[in-house]
Symmetry: C2
Subunit: 287 residues, 2 copies
């Protein structure tokens, strides 16, 4: 085993109906930025549930985060964060929005000309805003890890950024919310999670029976239960895949073992140039 | 799956030689209580390594924590903590000492007549001191969970106490330190860890393929690798068992599934009355 440090302070709140716990997780009066994507949360009821739970907070909304979150959009959100004095960024549903929330939490407090270049050059980041996550799509593990993958439209780049302090304080994983997803999103999620395991598993061998054993369990679970998501009434499949996807990329199975991630790096470049779904690029590239 | 919350903020620092990272984990000038047991750490070199890493801190020592940590001893330590204005309690080596450190961190700031009765009656605990752990014996998982099992000599009781805020801030797991343990301690550790898995596994079935799969991995690992600890030169066995024992009781495999713990409760009572090693009571009681 390789020496490692492992710490995962994100509070996972798991189970059907848990979205209502937002009212306990966020203190009354907090200035919250509700960050979301194309507005599907207004059709599937998640928006209404979140707003009900946050009724004692000052909520500002920012919609329009892309499926592959775009730097230029996040910088617009950063202006809103600064103007409104936002205290908590709540990314609602999907790894893309959570990625955007974490990057936003890192760049919004910065007072620099070009945040992209500044972060890439490892400029000092003294303050990171707290992030919370509400998840529908089990895939990226973004809800309890420090990584954001962000696309720069102007430069046609898609790069990963890691900031430990941006790891969500809490992540609500409510499997019932997965009923709002279409089949393609579910397929993509399962493939993405499976690839995360492979990136930490099919590498140079070391002595790590626990980590490899856990990886075996996650791959077997995704293979067996992933296809069952097609049955939209299978609540057991939803909770099983959601938990497996979280465990696939929260640091646990990668602790103490060599990791690869070349499939992801190639996939990110393909998405940046051809705008193909992330998971589909992975399934093309993965050996 | 049952609804659950899971949060494990302990920073695990794993690997041979990691004890030297104490100097990074504890700020210079911190008033540290070094809590330990019968003094084996002075013979095996761990004391010297810890003191070297803490040379810029104000270290107070408290020795004599029992194998089954005793309430009356911990209350003596609490007086030292208050007198010296201790800021961090560092439990050095073994789940017993870490249990004592967590309980001490909870009771030392209390200003009540009988802390045992006060805690059992769920009296308010406003302050808990930070705890750190250096581990040699992989067994209890105490290094990254909130539970302390404490014996009251006067009342012949042995009871578990849980305090989330007492969970160690960091835990150094250095498999090389296991070379200081005798065969009986190693045997006990493997049996204890195995029983922890069983207490979270042989219960009422729910839909939890990931948790049950992880439990399978841990039991198989302990069965295969535990006996190899008899070969004192098997570094791979040490790191494998140490990591498996940690994972067996850090909240992960018990998240979302029913738990039992009746074997432990009966075992604790046997130890309280007959002073038999904890793990040996478990192996007698476990179905």
């Amino acid at each position: 085993m390789i020496q490692f440090r492992l710490c995962n302070p994100t509070e996972i709140v798991f189970g059907a109906g848990q979205i209502s716990t937002l009212s306990q997780l966020v203190s009354p009066g907090t200035r919250v930025l509700l960050l979301y994507g194309g507005g599907s949360i207004k059709r599937n009821g998640i928006y209404d549930k979140a707003m009900a739970a946050l009724r004692d907070c000052e909520v500002t909304e920012f919609a329009g985060i892309e499926v592959n979150p775009v730097y230029e959009t996040i910088m617009e959100a950063a202006a809103v964060v600064r103007m409104k004095g936002i205290e908590l960024i709540l990314g609602v549903v999907g790894g893309s929005v959570v990625d955007a929330a974490k990057f936003l939490a890192t760049v919004a407090p910065l007072n620099v000309g070009d945040a992209w270049d500044y972060i890439l050059a490892r400029g000092e980041v003294s303050t990171v805003l707290p992030v919370g996550a509400v998840l529908t799509l089990p895939a990226t593990g973004s809800e309890s890890n420090p990584v954001s993958v962000i696309s720069h439209r102007g430069r046609r780049l898609k790069l990963p950024f890691a900031e430990q302090r941006a790891r969500p304080r809490f992540a609500i994983l409510d499997p019932d919310t997965m009923t709002s997803l279409d089949i393609r999103q579910l397929q993509n999620g399962v493939v993405d999670a499976f690839t995360h395991v492979v990136e930490q598993y099919l590498t140079l061998p070391v002595n790590a029976p626990v980590q490899y054993g856990f990886s075996d369990v996650l791959m077997r679970t995704l293979i067996e239960w992933g296809p069952r998501l097609v049955d939209r009434n299978d609540a057991e499949a939803r909770e099983t895949v959601m938990w497996a996807a979280n465990q696939a990329l929260n640091g646990l199975i990668g602790a103490g073992v060599p990791q690869d991630w070349s499939t992801h790096m190639i996939g990110h470049a393909i998405t940046a140039i051809y705008d193909i779904d992330h998971a589909r690029t992975l399934s093309m590239v993965m050996p």
